[in-house]
């Protein structure tokens, strides 16, 4: 029997239902059973005092590497789901770049099994669109979808052959499957490891021009239009990329795009002393790009912000910049990074939508909102709470975050998934 929970005195922000007011939330049998007034005979097993807090839908993260199976020295499903729950995330999509690659029912079942045993945050595995993410032969996408794959990626090993890319889209469209594509021309990106800009000119590192993203986007937009595929573009990094999408998205409702939270904060300037914690793919771009990405988020062109969580062991980053493995451990910083952006053009509602209802809509799952009878995925967040990842608890096995020494504002105090409390910040309350 799941607990009856009464969340009291919080400001409820539920963008999908245009709710933004102080009101209690009542949860029973794993569902939201009422706002405002308790249902008849409701006696809570647990009352959460949310004074000064926001009550928002549990976060939906479109892209997170959990590393299991195959790279358990970096992280495990158990360690990362604990981090996700602490970060307010109640649903996440695991990336298929495991070993073996998630291109078979066996691996998908293993992920489901492990995640189920851990409990807490729900895992929606992403499958590989091509066998071994090698870009040559199609994976059994329809079969994988039947065993629970939420979408199919080329985003970690981009398919370089355009004919195969087109067929991948045609096939996915036939079964109405969601493709996660990385708009990326790999021949232009070549061996680059940072944005081809002024910092790159000074550091003498091989650069990745913005054109790698522009050409990748234009290619995929054309192929998506022709094939009718449902395409989600991962990790937009540039102003020009955002501008292309702003033009195209209203014309093709089957397209969507996200941005990684760190792209809204960091720029290539941060790579200036060869600190490999700032090595990410796609690379951190210029200040103008960052500004444009923030605007595209406010305008709704980018309808999801994701963690792009990539936990690494310390040695993976103790390398020369160009040799270091790309990525940031980010499950626990997604919420504060997004909340800190609120103000100016970005309303609280739009910001919260980008980590709840926006990504849920892209995935086509019933999550990310607090409507009546919705699955009770709830995050109680203290928007004023400042904390520092290095000193105030960090659960991910990957400590590779450039925000480790940065005071962040906003933190999940309670995380509820499917009506059960899966994380709670202050034990002594």
């Amino acid at each position: 029997m799941k607990p009856r929970i009464h969340i009291n005195r919080g400001r409820v922000i539920d963008p999908a239902n245009q709710v933004d007011r102080q009101t209690p939330v009542y949860i029973a049998d794993g569902r939201v059973v009422a706002l405002d007034r308790a249902p008849d005979g409701f006696t809570p097993d647990q009352t959460i005092d949310a004074t000064g807090c926001w009550v928002i839908p549990g976060l939906v993260d479109l892209r997170a590497a959990l590393r299991e199976p195959g790279a358990e020295h970096k992280a495990t499903i158990a360690s990362e789901l604990a981090a996700a729950a602490a970060g307010g995330i109640t649903s996440l999509c695991s990336t298929p770049d495991t070993q073996p690659v998630a291109d078979s029912e066996a691996v998908i079942e293993l992920i489901h099994h492990r995640a189920g045993a851990v409990g807490g945050t729900r895992v929606y595995p992403l499958g590989a669109a091509t066998l071994g993410l090698a870009g040559a032969q199609l994976a059994e996408m329809a079969t994988l979808a039947a065993s629970g794959c939420a979408g199919f990626c080329d985003s970690v090993g981009p398919v370089t052959n355009n004919l195969i890319r087109w067929r991948m889209m045609q096939y996915a469209a036939s079964h109405d499957l969601l493709l996660y594509l990385r708009p990326w021309d790999s021949t232009l990106a070549a061996a680059g490891c940072m944005h081809d800009g002024t910092v790159c000119a000074r550091l003498g590192l091989p650069g990745i021009p913005v054109e790698a993203e522009i050409i990748g986007l234009q290619r995929d937009i054309a192929l998506a239009r022709r094939s009718g595929a449902r395409v989600h573009f991962c990790g937009i990094s540039s102003a020009q990329g955002a501008a292309i999408l702003a033009h195209e998205l209203p014309r093709n409702k089957r397209l969507s795009a996200d941005v990684s939270a760190h792209q809204l904060y960091l720029t290539d300037d941060d790579c200036g002393s060869f600190n490999s914690l700032y090595r990410v793919d796609p690379p951190l771009r210029s200040n103008d790009d960052r500004t444009a990405l923030r605007q595209a988020l406010a305008a709704g062109t980018l309808s999801a912000v994701c963690s792009d969580h990539q936990p690494h062991e310390a040695d993976a980053k103790l390398q020369p910049f160009s040799e270091a493995e790309p990525g940031i451990s980010a499950l626990e910083t997604l919420l504060p990074l997004v909340l800190q952006l609120i103000g100016g053009e970005l309303t609280a509602s739009t910001a919260i939508a980008a980590i709840t209802s926006g990504p849920a809509r892209i995935l086509g799952i019933d999550a990310g909102h607090l409507g009546l009878q919705a699955v009770a995925d709830v995050c109680v967040v203290d928007p004023e709470r400042t904390w520092q990842p290095a000193t105030d608890g960090w659960l991910s096995s990957g400590r590779n975050t450039p925000f480790m020494e940065t005071p962040l504002r906003g933190r999940a105090t309670w995380t509820i998934a499917g009506g059960e409390i899966i994380a709670r910040l202050d034990r002594d309350e």
Binding site: A201, G204, F321
Partner: protein, 331 residues
């Protein structure tokens, strides 16, 4: 060993690490030059040694082959009476799979006082400097396409020797700037010494996209880039540039960018010619120019020893100076 990001350390000694030009003030450069002046005479003496670094251990850590730079560092260290160990990548532990930092940690445990590092990846000396103990210096002997500060310093020193104050000079750098740590460091050093007319001359395939942001004027035609130049610095062209579609052929490159008596007519008659070596005769420079009256290629080599002695003496020498090196942001 902890991860320190506040590098290079400022304060005394005046030069803890030499990683690139970004933390060298003009005063620090002048001090290196003055110190080098005092060492030039050492090379002319019968006993070519000073006891400044007696008892110090200097490790030359070369992860990439080098003859000239390694040899001059070795000679410089020996003239300062240091104990020198040279480790080449072909015989090093990294070939057996030991990580870069493990190699450094191991050598540090043997009480090394200074690492002189050459690596094919940009940023490696920075990585090492972040992880060495206090009191251990790191000197960059060339990292990837990023920096080669002792080369740039010896180039500036050589220019000063022949032309005096650098600030009013017109300086042209010709060749493969994109892949050149030498060119990047020369540009930074010239800027730091007050030179305002810095030009780069190359086809776009051999230039970083945002090269102009480094404070240079960009030319694609040699005669225009060399017009009235006081100093012409050319760079070695690697053979593999042909196979990666950066250039059609050595022949065409020499025709349009090679330094010849004819192409140098655009420069001032008393212009000096520098080259970091080793030179490809008939590719980036004609033999007549390389061996001609304007060439200072051999003085560059001997100055290299004095400059490297100065840098090592200032970084590991026994007398901490009073005035700290001013830290300047590279941006």
């Amino acid at each position: 060993m902890t991860d320190r990001t506040d590098l290079p350390a400022t304060g005394s000694p005046p030069l803890r690490h030499l990683l690139d030009m970004s933390n060298l003030s003009r005063d620090a450069i002048e001090e290196i030059f003055r110190t080098a002046d005092s060492f030039v005479s050492v090379g002319a003496r019968q006993v070519r040694k000073v006891p400044l670094l007696r008892g110090k251990t200097i490790v030359l850590l070369f992860f990439e082959p080098s003859t000239r730079t390694r040899t001059t560092f070795e000679i410089a260290a020996k003239r300062l009476s240091a104990d020198v160990v040279t480790i080449n990548t072909s015989v090093s532990a990294t070939a057996k799979g030991e990580s870069l930092l493990d190699t450094v940690r191991t050598l540090q445990a043997m009480q090394s006082d200074m690492f002189v590092v050459r690596h094919r990846d940009s940023g490696v000396p920075h990585l090492i400097a972040r992880h060495v103990d206090p009191g251990v210096s790191v000197i960059n002997a060339g990292d990837g396409w990023h920096a080669h500060p002792t080369q740039a310093l010896l180039d500036m020193y050589t220019i000063r020797q022949h032309k005096g104050d650098l600030a009013p000079l017109s300086v042209a750098i010709v060749g493969d700037i994109l892949h050149s740590r030498v060119a990047r460091t020369q540009i930074a050093a010239l800027g730091r010494l007050g030179v305002t007319d810095i030009r780069v001359v190359a086809p776009k395939t051999l230039l970083p996209q945002e090269i102009a942001s480094l404070g240079v004027r960009v030319f694609h035609q040699l005669d225009r880039g060399l017009a009235d130049a006081d100093v012409v610095m050319t760079l070695r062209l690697q053979r593999e540039r042909m196979s990666s579609a950066l250039l059609p052929s050595e022949r065409e490159y020499f025709r349009f960018y090679g330094l010849t008596p004819k192409s140098l007519r655009a420069a001032k008659p008393d212009a000096i010619i520098l080259h970091p070596g080793p030179i490809n005769r008939g590719v980036e420079i004609d033999s007549v120019v390389a061996d001609g009256p304007g060439s200072v290629i051999l003085p560059q080599v001997s100055n290299g020893i004095a400059i490297r002695m100065a840098v090592m003496a200032l970084a590991a020498g026994p007398t901490p100076r009073q005035q700290p090196v001013e830290s300047e942001t590279p941006r």
